[in-house]
């Protein structure tokens, strides 16, 4: 029986078979056998975080910035509950993750054992799927299924809960080559008839608009999208999750749309006659109130791999279920085969209109200010990094400024929590990004409120010598909360002031990093240049910014896209 392996060995072997090079985790009682097996090998490198939330965010950042499935390993009970925020974050943004959690031994389940929690129950609403492995005979096939489900169709996190006794028992190991599930067969190829209809609509468009989201990034469909937009000469906008799907420096890019989208993007969305939605889901932060968004003259083509995303908030005319990259390939092929071209005269008139909107210069801010404007920091960051950095962010004003002012020309460079809006995401996600892209420049744009939600990870960064550049836009307020309070709550800044802040420079130094405090607009560029020259050090840059700066444009909640508050 010498060929039999323990459940823990099987778990690690499965990870090796899946080609996993890094996993992010935190040990504990229920996963000790698995950690013991990790210790005995060196193919799968374990990254020790300081809190399980960070383990999942790091795996998430790893996945978003590569195109691989991220893996996290946590123990039972509090290990899992700490991980839940990370799992929900990945779920909302459809990020492929496999989370392995320890569980109390099978005989103790349901007896309120030490560090027991109903992991499958707690995580059920925020995973694509989850498993409790009660029988070691099913362990290998379950892990195989987990990777398959996580990375196919509309991706998402999958959790595998492994009781401690299952990790200790033995059985023969064979990793299945394939998975076949009668209940799970995502549609990949778009319906040919529907694609034909879409082509016809596109060719008849007078005021077309191409609106794309995270699905383009997840499907690695940027080349196809870029080709389509250029072939057609149409305007293109990206959602917050879709930035980098189309090159932001290209003239056909009209900026991000949505609550803090550009005037031109939102106006074009509202007034177009044919809208091509690609891997995007018309969510509330993107189109605002669907009743206001509704426009009788507008026909909508919607490409998405998830049927339930289609006609959820907005009724569409031509739904196409399938993988974005495949459908775009087909669409381009059909378009090229047709002799007709879009109506160039109408298109020229449409561009004239769009350029008028563009001339409104909706992102302008006071460049001569004697106090540091946060927008300027992001602009300088873009210049200093040549637009080539991976940029993660936390959640709030700084996130919107990063999205508006860092021009992403490539996909998988902009890493943020768009759906769940998780403060504390930026730093651990940046760690994952750096592991996936060891030679890449990685910046974390954050604020003094968000950064403190996972600041303990500075310790992880020290342990693994991660040379992240943390851009802390410090305005001593939870800026976005303050902005809403200013606009909608009569300037009553209830609990949005960040009192008793640490000295971030000393804090960074105490973790063994470099700290900088920047207080003058004139110092921004030099400081950034100096920081990025320190290629092997983490630099925490504390920018003291204007306390009262707001993010514009803004579509207030419940309003329509053309009802923006402008600067």
């Amino acid at each position: 029986m010498s060929t039999e392996l323990t459940g823990a060995e099987i778990t690690v072997r499965c990870l090796q078979e899946e080609g996993v090079d890094h996993i992010f985790g935190y040990p504990g009682g229920a996963v000790l056998f698995i950690y013991d097996e990790l210790f005995k090998q060196d193919k799968v490198k374990h990254v020790l975080v300081r809190h399980e939330q960070a383990a999942v965010h790091a795996a998430d950042g790893y996945a978003r910035s590569s195109n691989k499935t991220g893996v996290a390993l946590v123990t039972s009970g509090p290990g899992v509950t700490n991980a839940v925020t990370g799992i929900a974050t990945a779920y909302m943004d459809s990020i492929p993750l496999v989370i392995i959690s320890g569980q109390v031994p099978t005989h103790a389940i349901g007896l309120d054992a030490f560090q027991e929690v109903d992991t499958v129950g707690i995580t059920r609403p925020c995973v694509k799927h989850n498993f409790l492995v009660k029988d070691i005979a099913e362990l290998a096939s379950t892990i195989k299924k987990a990777f398959y489900i996580a990375s196919t169709g509309r991706p998402g996190p999958v959790l595998v809960d492994i009781p401690k006794d299952v990790s200790q028992q033995k059985t023969a190991f064979a990793y299945p080559e394939n998975v076949s599930m009668r209940s799970y067969n995502p549609v990949i190829r778009g319906h040919a008839g529907q694609i034909k209809k879409a082509v016809q609509l596109i060719l008849e468009a007078k005021r077309p608009m191409i609106y794309t989201g995270g699905g383009v990034i997840l499907s690695d469909a940027s080349p196809q999208l870029t080709e389509l937009v250029r072939v057609l000469g149409f305007p293109c906008t990206n959602t917050l999750m879709g930035l980098g799907g189309y090159p932001a420096t290209d003239n056909q890019f009209v900026g991000m749309l949505g609550m803090h989208g550009t005037y031109e993007a939102n106006m074009a969305m509202q007034h177009c006659d044919v809208l091509v939605a690609v891997g995007a889901r018309f969510d509330d932060r993107v189109i605002g109130n669907p009743k206001h968004f509704f426009n009788e003259d507008r026909k909508i083509i919607h490409i998405d791999i998830d049927p339930s995303s289609i006609s959820k908030r907005v009724k569409v005319d031509v739904p196409i279920v399938g993988s974005v990259s495949g459908v775009l390939d087909e669409l381009i092929k059909l378009l090229k085969a047709r002799k007709e071209k879009p109506d160039q005269t109408a298109l020229d008139a449409w561009w004239t209109q769009i350029n008028l909107w563009r001339a409104r210069d909706c992102l302008k801010y006071d460049r001569a200010s004697s106090i540091i404007k946060p927008q300027m920091v992001v602009e300088k960051l873009y210049e200093v990094t040549g637009g080539n950095a991976f940029v993660t962010s936390d959640v709030g004003q700084h996130q919107m400024w990063a999205a508006q002012f860092y021009k992403f020309d490539l996909p998988r460079r902009w890493i943020n929590s768009g759906g769940l809006g998780t403060m504390g995401f930026g730093l651990p996600a940046a760690m994952g990004v750096q592991f996936a892209n060891p030679s890449g420049a990685v910046a974390c744009v954050t604020g003094e409120a968000s950064i403190q939600m996972c600041i303990q990870e500075l310790s992880t960064c020290k342990q693994y010598s991660l040379p992240l550049k943390i851009i802390n836009l410090n305005n001593r307020y939870m800026g976005m909360v303050r902005q809403w309070q200013q606009f909608f709550h009569g300037n009553r800044y209830a609990e949005s002031y960040m009192d008793a802040l640490p000295n971030f420079v000393k804090l960074a130094e105490s973790y063994g990093h470099v700290g900088m405090k920047i207080e003058q607009p004139g110092d921004i560029q030099n400081a950034l240049e100096e920081a990025f020259k320190l290629k092997d050090r983490l630099v925490f840059m504390d920018f003291i910014t204007d306390q009262t700066e707001n993010v514009f444009p803004m579509v207030p909640g419940g309003k329509g896209l053309s009802e923006m508050i402008l600067v």
Binding site: V120, G121, R124, P125, K128, H129, L132, I149, M181, R182, S183, Y184, D306, P307, S308, S311, K312, K315
Partner: protein, 163 residues
Amino acid sequence: MRHIISLLMENEAGALSRVAGLFSSRGYNIESLTVAATEDPTLSRMTLVTAGSDDVIEQITKQLNKLIEVVKVVDLSDGDHIERELMLMKVRAVGKDREEIKRMADIFRGRIIDVTDKSYTIELTGTGSKLDAFLEGMERGAILETVRTGASGIGRGERILKV
């Protein structure tokens, strides 16, 4: 509008809670839900009665299909179908009421399946509205206990839900 939805899913622990959880987390209405294994023990069949606008029902069927363990979903209300529900009712039956209750049960084609000197237990099958009518017809004070299974449904004729 009321819809009756049938689905086949893997007969695995936790599958039911995924369906129930979907309805509560997305705020869908659920009138009744019945589930049991089919002739193929690896599959369970569930009948769900729900109500909602066409848009909501479309989302419900899409979201059900999205659950990894769900194999097939069909909205029986889209075509001809039969639905049946079982009710067991215990009633106080003494004196001259005994004859009257027996007659009531006969009219509704119910069967008395347990008898004591003070009570009858009646078994009744039919559509939900037939069971409602029977409930209405019984004197409230006589009803000691009722239990209903919720509707089970099947398509008429050649409409078959199978893997």
